[in-house]
Symmetry: C2
Subunit: 354 residues, 2 copies
């Protein structure tokens, strides 16, 4: 049986569950490598993956005998089969953060489980700690992101539209071996950069515009995430102090991030320093990155946990002056016992393009 | 108050609900035009949209006084407010097909509603019937898709990879005013076309390959969906009878689709004709299209409903010979009282490229 499924079996047994229904396709990909639509059933004896004819061939080509997973076609599973998967199981776990209320009710009826029990995100929690293979993929995605940024610095010219730049990013990733984008690229220039969650528009880049570029790619399913605020033509004097304040906090956070660091204090330190200058941190300071672009842990003021070695998270302070401009600087970093390692390594000094 | 919210209020009152929590962002966009993250509360007296600082500016710029929606910042809503939104409400509706089990439990706690009641997809059901503005956007998305296809016929050459073609599609949509893709483009050539749900690969197009291209774009949020199977260099003789069988069924379905047509019979007619020839229809015959690429109704054998005027659905029969090849032909069509109108109009005769 594969190691991750072995881990899951031990984990649920420890929680007095005799089975689990895994429905979240990202959790299934994490556990098995399968990238399809279907459901993974961890029963007392066996592991079943039930999918439909669209994916059957491909899934069978991925799964080996060592995985210990029985792959079945949805149409071959009878009502009787469903009723019997979890016979003699007292408690069967399910993903309360993924399945809808309607699906929960369907599962209750279909599986005839004694009790469907919330698993409190056990798989998502395990996904926070990356293994060697995952780190290799994450590093590759981050390296591609850095090289894309180097390309952009030469590419961006005054008069181009935000969308044109976003499109060039996608093209670069496409031509250089990424699976795709981690998320819809944000290119926000001038006033648009004042929105923490800006959308890329047809606005043309003008001299004196700050340009916030928030982007990333996927490599073998694993995401990167980086933001830089750069400048077109020249750097307006009023932005410099804000840029310096964001950067000094980003660098300080990078110094503070390591195994054992208290997450809420990382957030508060930045927020407090911003407040000393009359601003505040209006979004989280960061988030986990992996198969999903936003994973646990969220680096925010109400997270009482600490960072752990082999977490991969973002470090992304930002300040936004409504109707004027904004600055955000973000890296994807790997937490270690003694500190953190930037996986995205692009220059964070003032950059002027165009 | 806007017409769609008025409709919703009447609808829930008829179901003996005094309020509703609308959480699905697509449903919120449908009702209000708001394209953000937040929750829409239909209370006894008022309509509230609660969002966070990332979206506040933008949402306020969209909503007018005539919409009758109070826009609030999440951080300004106290526990006390939540408890009082639905005071004196016996039943409050929620979207059981959208919210997770965990969110359901959170809502139960937060809103102190007497009873949270499933709404059985009322908004999704209403979304099936498109109004004039929606039809205008859908037609525009379909026209863009046709013109992209014309471009592709001249663009595709033997030796190009599937990914290159998929990328050209995205580029075309980008340069011609689409919001983006409706879904990840499928370009499946040769053996890859034998998978009903193929992924686009780095395989190069070879002479004699069928190429199934399944693609679409969004215009103001509304999707198009079209598939053509075309041929590189020449048409292998063994594919022709399959192509002809798929096409004749696609054309027959287009004749049969109109208000009142029984959905399960549309499916069965195609499946039966396929079976007479030794094949079968392994996926649904079609699906609704709108703000989501897959909406109700699903055109399958277990749907007991009939088509209605102003539904927009796909008509997409396909046959797949494992390890050999596949053919799928798909249009997005508008249902009328007397028949159906193809919104995608590209040629369906044999097309040879390269």
């Amino acid at each position: 049986m594969n190691e991750k499924i072995k881990w899951l079996r031990e984990k649920i047994n420890g929680l007095n569950m005799q089975g689990m229904i895994v429905s979240n396709p990202v959790n299934i990909r994490y556990l098995t490598g399968i990238n399809a639509e279907g459901v993974l059933l961890i029963t007392r004896k066996e592991n079943y993956y039930i999918t439909d004819s669209r994916y059957l061939e491909e899934v069978k080509s991925i799964i080996t005998i060592d995985d210990g997973i029985i792959v079945s076609n949805l149409v071959d599973i009878s009502e009787y089969d469903y009723e019997n998967f979890f016979s003699f199981c007292e408690n069967v776990g399910f993903e309360e953060n993924y399945i809808t209320y309607a699906t929960y009710k369907k599962y209750m009826q279909r599986y005839k489980a004694n009790n469907l029990e919330e698993t409190d995100g056990i798989i998502e929690k395990q996904r926070m700690i990356k293994d060697e293979t995952e780190l290799e993929y994450l590093k590759k995605a981050c390296t591609l992101t850095d090289s894309c940024f180097s390309h952009l610095i030469n590419y961006i010219k005054i008069g181009m539209t935000e969308k044109q730049i976003a499109y060039e990013i996608e093209k670069y990733f496409f031509e250089n071996g990424a699976d795709g984008l981690s998320f819809e690229t944000i290119v926000a220039s001038g006033k648009n950069s004042s929105k923490p969650h800006a959308k890329t528009t047809d606005k043309k880049i003008e001299a004196g515009d700050p340009i916030t570029i928030d982007f990333g790619c996927k490599y073998k399913g694993y995401c990167s995430d980086m933001t830089r605020t750069i400048f077109a033509g020249f750097i307006p004097e009023d932005i410099k102090p804000i840029y310096d304040l964001v950067l000094s906090n980003q660098l300080q956070t990078a110094k503070d991030m390591k195994e054992g660091a208290e997450i809420r204090i990382l957030f508060r330190n930045v927020d407090n320093d911003f407040k000393l200058h009359g601003y505040s941190l209006v979004h989280s300071l960061g988030h986990g990155v992996g198969l999903d672009i936003h994973e646990s842990p969220s680096i925010n003021k109400s997270n009482d946990n600490t960072l752990k070695a082999n977490m991969v998270v973002t470090n992304e302070p930002g300040i936004y002056i409504p109707e004027k401009f904004g600055v955000r600087i973000e890296d994807t970093v790997l937490i270690t016992k003694s500190g953190c390692i930037n996986l995205t390594k692009s220059d964070k000094n003032y950059i002027v393009v165009g």
